[in-house]
């Protein structure tokens, strides 16, 4: 079922190659998204970790803002770390323009600078399954507030770290660095495939 999927990874800056590698390992055809034409025909999009300031700058520089904002409103999208910041609705003390795909307020580097970055094994409940997922929090964003439509899927230290709203999934941490595919499969099964099933044009 995965073989027919096309999932893009925003490849302006950051660890997009790790996500593409993971997609390929699952048999999904992954695509680097650098220009708006790269979004055509995609079933889903991953916005990777990296520097949100840089990504925000390059989104405008390569005239991606409009198409990207439209894409994340009605297609499956997963934002990790900087990707979560880009998909949020409000960012504390920042002039960045997030895309508002999920109703959360975040603080960039909310856990502190690199010396406060950390690794932990997370115990998650995804659907009816309990799983242990290796997770790196690297200069990670902190979720300060969540709107009523947001589902908090996991917390760490009392702060939400994995959340969703509609077709949008966000995580403040990285699992792709550890070649763990649990969350990627969850994203595909619960976000990409259901959204694709609703699109009659994809039924060929």
């Amino acid at each position: 079922m995965y073989e027919r999927l096309k999932i893009g990874v925003l490849a302006l800056q950051g660890d997009f190659e790790r996500h593409l590698y993971q997609l390929t390992a699952l048999g999904v055809s992954g695509r680097e998204v650098r220009l708006s034409k790269d979004l055509l025909g995609l079933d889903g999009l991953i916005i990777p970790g990296g520097e949100s300031t840089t990504m925000n700058n390059l989104i405008d520089r390569f005239s991606l803002r409009q198409e990207l904002s439209a894409f994340v409103k009605h297609k499956a999208v997963w934002g990790t770390c900087a990707g979560m910041i880009m998909l949020a609705t409000r960012i504390i003390d920042s002039t960045l323009e997030p895309m508002g795909a999920i109703d959360i307020t975040v603080t960039r580097n909310g856990y502190g600078r690199q010396v406060f970055s950390f690794f932990t094994d997370l115990n998650l409940t995804l659907g009816d399954k309990n799983v242990i997922v290796p997770a790196s929090f690297i200069r990670a964003p902190l979720v300060n507030k969540t709107g009523s439509a947001v589902v908090v899927l996991a917390k760490y230290d009392n702060h939400p770290i994995l959340l969703s709203q509609g077709n949008c999934l966000v995580s403040s941490f990285h699992t792709e660095l550890h070649s763990d595919k649990t969350l990627l499969k969850y994203f595909i099964d619960k976000f990409v495939l259901p959204a694709q099933a609703l699109q009659p044009t994809n039924g060929k």
Binding site: A11, L12, Q13, G14, D15, F16, E17, R18, R34, G49, G50, E51, T53, T54, N57, L58, R61, F62, C81, A82, S94, R108, N109, G112, R113, Q114, V115, S117, F118, F119, S136, I138, R139, H174, L177, H178
Partner: protein, 293 residues
Amino acid sequence: MDFTDKTYKIKVGLAEMLKGGVIMDVINADQAKLAEQSGAAAVMALERVPSDIRADGGVARMSAPEIIEEIKKAVTIPVMAKCRIGHFVEAEILQALEVDFIDESEVLTPADYKYHVDKWKFKVPFVCGCRNLGEALRRIAEGAAMIRTKGEAGTGDVSEAVRHLREINRAIKTLTTMSDEELNGAAKEMSAPLSIVKVVAKLGKLPVPNFAAGGVATPADAALVMKLGAESVFVGSGIFKASNPEKRGRAIVTAVTQFSDPKALADCSRGLGEAMKGQPAAEIPDDKLLQIR
């Protein structure tokens, strides 16, 4: 030496996040802001850019703490800073200042001609320069979370970075074809731990991100090193010694993102004004080269 160590994973993780970006040398908060606006993924704080160190001579050291603090306040992207080779106290100071990455750099005057900093002892990740695979692997064995080519800093001549990248690529390719006995011999020849040599032979690449540095002065230079397999680019004197740093910085960032698209490279290379004048690396006498440090 434990590559499964959790702190080590976090260090390499930040290096992964910097991929596909440009890291710009800055000497003050104003330059840092300009670097961030032009799309830099991180800034590197240092006392003087390499071409000035080359021209002025004297001992080059870590930046003053107040400069690093001002730079940290001025930008939200990661702040790196350079310490002298082997100067673990400068490194401890930089860690206390909470910089995000430390470059144990041959651009500064070495403090220890025999030993590099034991980077396993630090929470902050380190990047180190290299000219060949042996150097890269020795630095990784010491705990470096990122490797960059040395190139010849401050020249505006990209040829040495190209030489180092090609040399590393060639050596890695050779390792992938070797038998176990040959790998033993290669480890011995490179004075590198066999365990890391075996990992590289299996992966066909370094186990940490490999960036390019030294002599990058134009968008085309940046795209060239990306084409040769660099995963990101450090730019030192190339930006702030050019006639229009803002435009050039921006263009080099564009070039790193669009390195495979010659038309985009032509577009971003237009109207940048003068590049830094530079000095051909081949004209520099051996004892004045920074890369041999």
